[in-house]
């Protein structure tokens, strides 16, 4: 299987380890991975702020960059969902809409791809530790990927996965929301962090870099010992257990 990897703009700059792990993991599972270098951002900041015209231009660039791929796999549920949303941006029946639909049909979030397309639940990973998992809103509610991350994590040898109370609550990121409505966002992330710290986990996992950046930023500010990692890093881990 040929996979064109979508790192996302934040991933490219801030989550290099997550990207590396995802690529190695996909290769280990037998995929041939390439990285279209023209890729930038999915356009979500503009879209969610109501800048449709600007979003369309960014979307066209991404479509052109990825449309020749066999599969596109991204490491952020939210950005992958944005690509799926492209179909709503263009005029009904237009050429661009057709291209957007074709891209949507082959674009997956990492864990979704592994479970649904490759058809694997156990990636042969091992990691010694206690972790909890943050379910990102866009990935679960909008993209509809609910089970895949858990199925994969359950099969990681040595990993104890503990339940995160109120795990369906948003962490308060929301893109520009965290800046525009920073005082409300702050309350939300605080509540999330309190729930995480209330578990015995020393590791927080998630499948969306932006949520992890938000929660991780608050944990770091609080001086919390809880570590934050992208799910790809654990799935690619083969430590002694």
């Amino acid at each position: 299987m040929k996979v064109s990897f979508f790192i996302t703009c934040l991933g490219d700059m801030f989550y290099v380890n997550a990207g590396k792990a995802a690529v190695e993991l996909l290769e280990r599972l037998g995929c041939e991975v390439d990285f279209p270098r023209a890729q930038t951002c999915c356009g979500q900041p503009a879209y969610n702020s109501g800048y449709r015209k600007e979003t369309i231009e960014v979307a066209k660039h991404l479509i052109e960059t990825f449309e020749h791929a066999e599969y596109v796999v991204g490491i952020s549920g939210s950005c992958v969902y944005m690509i799926h949303e492209y179909t709503q941006l263009f005029e009904e029946g237009s050429d661009w809409q057709k291209r957007a639909i074709a891209l949507k049909d082959k674009t997956y979030e990492l864990t979704q791809f592994i479970v649904d397309v490759i058809g694997v639940d156990d990636v042969g990973a091992s990691y010694q530790g206690v972790a909890t998992y943050h379910t990102s809103c866009h990935m679960t509610r909008l993209l509809g990927v609910k089970e895949a991350p858990f199925r994969l994590l359950q099969n990681v040898k040595g990993l104890e996965l503990v339940d995160l109370p109120n795990r369906h609550d948003c962490c308060g990121f929301g893109g520009t929301f965290s800046i525009k409505m920073s005082d409300i966002s702050e309350q939300m992330v605080d509540e999330k962090v309190a729930h995480i710290e209330g578990t015995k986990a020393h590791l927080l996992l998630g499948a969306d870099g932006s949520c992890l950046m938000n929660i991780g930023g608050r944990l770091s500010r609080n001086g919390s010992p809880v570590e934050v990692k992208h799910i790809a890093e654990i799935l690619n881990s083969r430590g002694d257990v």
Partner: protein, 479 residues
């Protein structure tokens, strides 16, 4: 605008909400309870998703043919001997209701719970002409005696108060001397209210759903007071928002099932009352005179727009009960009698962007509301639509934001520009960074770093790693 409540400034309202620990405690526990109950009730019904689809189809069909069904309803009500009045604005509705109150020389008016009468400030209008209006819904009653504290929730208007606060209000205003046990509080209120019912000259009810085919009105209440309001006084007025209608009894069954489950997690609320016109010859009780007031107040201008789905709302408050923003700021922070996600969509439509420009941004777009709405209103998408309107049609966003978005588009559209910018980022951010974290950000980032650290960009970007690795031929070795 009558629907506006509280402080004018949005930021101040938010801060007040965040700092109100009592309110936040009350809201948090109510939300938790209601969320669990809703989920259980939905499970019990079984195929919840099929019910939602059905509900959404019924609402969308009804709103598409709203003029037809309103017509049918009016004819039915007239046939039964009732009077129908279409009010284009809140003022028109209030004038009509005032006129009836004067004609009947009404001193005391008993009223059941209704959001639309809040929306048009009917109570104030009636008080102006010297009437005494008694709220008979327990929540509304609490707020009324607490010097007209505004509602903070559309189903449980006093949700922001805990039981100790309610006990104190009763004690201070009515000399209540018992405990804060909910049953004791309710019993006390019920006794007080019973006296009022018996002496009211006029009854006013809201309307959950009007049934077009029979000219009936369904009222869903917790305490059965809608029945008292409509059975005892000689004259009854029912006030309805013009979209609160279903074609027939079969459809009513579906939407009421969805409403009670989504709202309070009950199969049926304690009382569902169906009223049909004035007392008929063969009937023993009911009002002698019946008036229906259908309120437009900005609804028809939503018809045919991208916001039409907002009119599908059945006011169950499920979206409010799951909303994390609502949980932290409370209902009053929205500045509207319609708070939470539906309030953020509806308030700018019924009023305007001048009044409610911040509300569409008061959401992280987490989609919890959309997921839970029993009639499938895409609430978070409607919020994005508002943002779009403000950008495109109204040019309301700041110049700096518009410039930034234009810059964003150019940056993300140019692979080479993007590459240069991301390459520079680690060096540009170094002065702000402590270890690998930025603790005091420049520009808009300062809002972020007020509460959180921001990671410093990695020196080797992912794309560099990938390229170098290709060069080194590691890829093949791995496979």
């Amino acid at each position: 605008m009558p629907m506006h409540i509280g402080e004018k400034d949005f930021k101040k309202r938010v801060t007040k909400g965040i700092e109100d620990d009592f309110m936040r405690g009350a809201v948090r526990s109510a939300q938790g309870r209601l969320q669990d109950k809703r989920a259980t009730a939905a499970d019990e019904l079984g195929d919840w998703e099929d019910w939602r689809t059905l509900g959404s189809e019924i609402r969308s069909h009804t709103i598409e043919h709203l003029d037809y069904y309103l017509n049918q309803l009016s004819e039915k009500v007239a046939e039964l001997g009732g009077h129908v009045f279409f009010a284009e604005t809140g003022e028109e509705a209030n004038e009509y209701i005032q006129k009836i109150a004067k004609e009947k020389e009404a001193k005391k008016i008993a009223k059941s719970k209704s959001m639309v009468t809040e929306e048009i400030s009917m109570n104030e209008a009636l008080e102006e002409i010297g009437c005494e209006v008694i709220e008979t819904d327990l929540g509304e009653y609490i707020l009324q005696i607490d010097d007209h504290d505004p509602p903070s929730h559309i189903v449980a208007p006093a949700l922001h108060k805990n039981k100790e606060q309610i006990r104190d209000v009763f004690n201070e205003k009515l000399g209540y001397l018992k405990t804060e046990k909910p049953e004791e509080l309710a019993l006390f209120a019920r006794e007080k209210l019973r006296e009022e019912f018996l002496s009211a000259d006029l009854g006013i009810t809201g309307c959950n759903f009007a049934v077009a085919e029979s000219g009936s009105f369904a009222l869903v209440t917790n305490e059965g007071n809608a029945r008292m309001v409509s059975a005892l006084p000689k004259t009854q007025i029912t006030v309805m928002g013009m979209e609160r209608i279903v074609p027939g009894w079969e459809e009513l069954d579906v939407v009421v099932s969805l409403l009670t489950r989504a709202a309070v997690g009950q199969k049926l609320t304690s009382y569902i009352t169906a009223l049909t016109g004035p007392k008929q010859l063969e009937e023993a009780d009911g009002p002698e005179e019946f008036h229906l007031v259908i309120v437009d107040n900005g609804r028809s201008k939503i018809l045919g727009t991208e916001f039409q789905e907002a009119l599908h709302c059945i006011r169950c408050a499920a979206c409010i009960n799951v909303c994390p923003v609502y949980r932290h700021v409370g209902g009053h922070a929205y500045g509207s009698i319609y708070p939470g996600p539906i309030g953020a969509v509806l308030s700018p439509l019924l009023s305007d962007y001048d009044e409610y420009k911040e509300l569409p941004y008061a959401s992280s777009l987490c989609g919890a509301c959309t997921e839970v709405c029993p009639v499938k209103i895409p609430l978070h998408e409607q919020l994005i639509m508002h943002r779009r309107k403000m950008v495109e049609d109204e040019k309301r966003t700041t110049l700096s934001e518009r410039v930034a978005m234009r810059g964003f588009e150019q940056l993300m559209n140019s692979a080479s520009l993007y590459r240069t910018a991301t390459k520079m980022a680690p060096f540009m951010s170094t002065p702000f960074a402590r270890k690998q974290m930025i603790t005091k950000g420049p520009g808009p980032l300062k809002h972020w770093t007020h509460a959180r650290d921001f990671p410093k960009p990695e020196n080797e970007r992912f794309r560099d790693w990938f390229k170098n690795r290709e060069k080194r031929g590691e890829q093949d070795a791995k496979r």
